[in-house]
Subunit: 214 residues, 2 copies
């Protein structure tokens, strides 16, 4: 681990990619890995990877590279995956339940404590074993569990009010799955998981492909 520096968003977005690759390597792979090797494996520039790694770890040794295990630890620590973040989820629809039941989040240090829904019919135990409470319970729950992160999986038409409710109850970061822009004070981070964005990039590529085929 290295002294924490100011790190750009673009670097931050590349780190999880390194991590998943490193973790996916077989047990019997060499214990060391170089920035060069990692770059080649992921189809990236080697200088960029080297610089990114230098930012989160000082375990790199000339001619040898990084000890894989330590590198994984350093990235995880840097990303805060080592200490879990508790979150609440609002909107126990299909997507909400899918997220609620997804085991993989643990790995990222995310722990969804409970879901909330305005529809009383959805209340009770989720199939994954997590509780679904009526929305009215959200304020007391957030406060007593000191929850800092909220996940929004309600329809766009209700996203803003849920967002406001979360903020009013102490939440500082919101992961928004509703395809809409949310208004919030500057100190609150809204991260909209924009499916539309990915789709836009894909659509453009396919259009270009088809055009080049003509």
């Amino acid at each position: 681990m290295v002294e924490r520096k100011e790190v750009s968003k673009s670097v931050l977005k590349r780190l999880p990619g390194y991590l998943t690759y490193l973790k996916s390597m077989p047990e019997d792979a060499p214990v060391h890995i170089s920035a060069t090797a990692l770059a080649n494996a992921l189809g990236m520039g080697e200088v960029q990877v080297r610089k990114d790694l230098a930012l989160v770890s000082d375990g790199g040794r000339p001619k040898i590279g990084y000890l894989r295990e330590s590198l994984i630890d350093d990235i995880e620590q840097f990303l805060g995956y080592d200490n879990t973040t508790d979150a609440v989820l609002v909107g126990a629809g299909k997507l909400g339940c899918a997220l609620l039941g997804y085991q993989g989040f643990e790995e990222y240090g995310l722990n969804i404590l409970a879901a909330f829904d305005a529809d009383a019919a959805k209340t009770g135990m989720d199939e994954s074993g997590k509780p679904v409470y009526p929305l009215e319970k959200l304020p007391s729950f957030c406060k007593s569990h000191k929850v800092l992160m909220g996940i929004i999986t309600v329809p766009s038409s209700h996203a803003q009010e849920v967002c406001d409710l979360m903020i009013a109850n102490g939440i500082k970061g919101i992961w928004n799955f509703a395809p809409t822009h949310l208004e919030a004070p500057a100190n609150i981070l809204i991260q909209t998981q924009n499916m539309a964005t990915s789709l836009a990039v894909l659509s453009m590529h396919l259009q270009a492909q088809m055009k080049s085929k003509d």
Copy 2:
């Protein structure tokens, strides 16, 4: 609409945001909207918005702005939302089914024709009314329907083989929900919907928040 220019990925990623905001405006709002107004509403720089809009539309008029309806049309046409893209989905688990049943994709010109799963038990009709076929049927289906886009919602351990299978059957763009790096030829676009990336950004924010509170 305007003559299509080469457009950067960053612009492309902002366009859907404008679109959703414009569409969310009430019926009785003024028929014209200026880049300035749009920028303010979304908390962005007005010059940036103006430049982005100029890229996709030439309907802007000094002192007046853009006709909202036309602007929506122009952005949609630019993003290819006006002609639908057919897609297949592989992996009819929770997330796969959530996507399969999501109505909102229509709006983006995405039409998921069918899902495929290696597990015979999942085969049949999805609750949303879309068919789930055994994975063996994928090749013939892709070819007969000339599908160009594939969606991967299988576990990471099987993502690469599904990816290879899709490419072998003519798919040119892949929307990957498995948290793993996929290897593909340069002319194939892999768009990984990286939840980990969003989480990383959120975690960092929360860490910083907590530290500033000490």
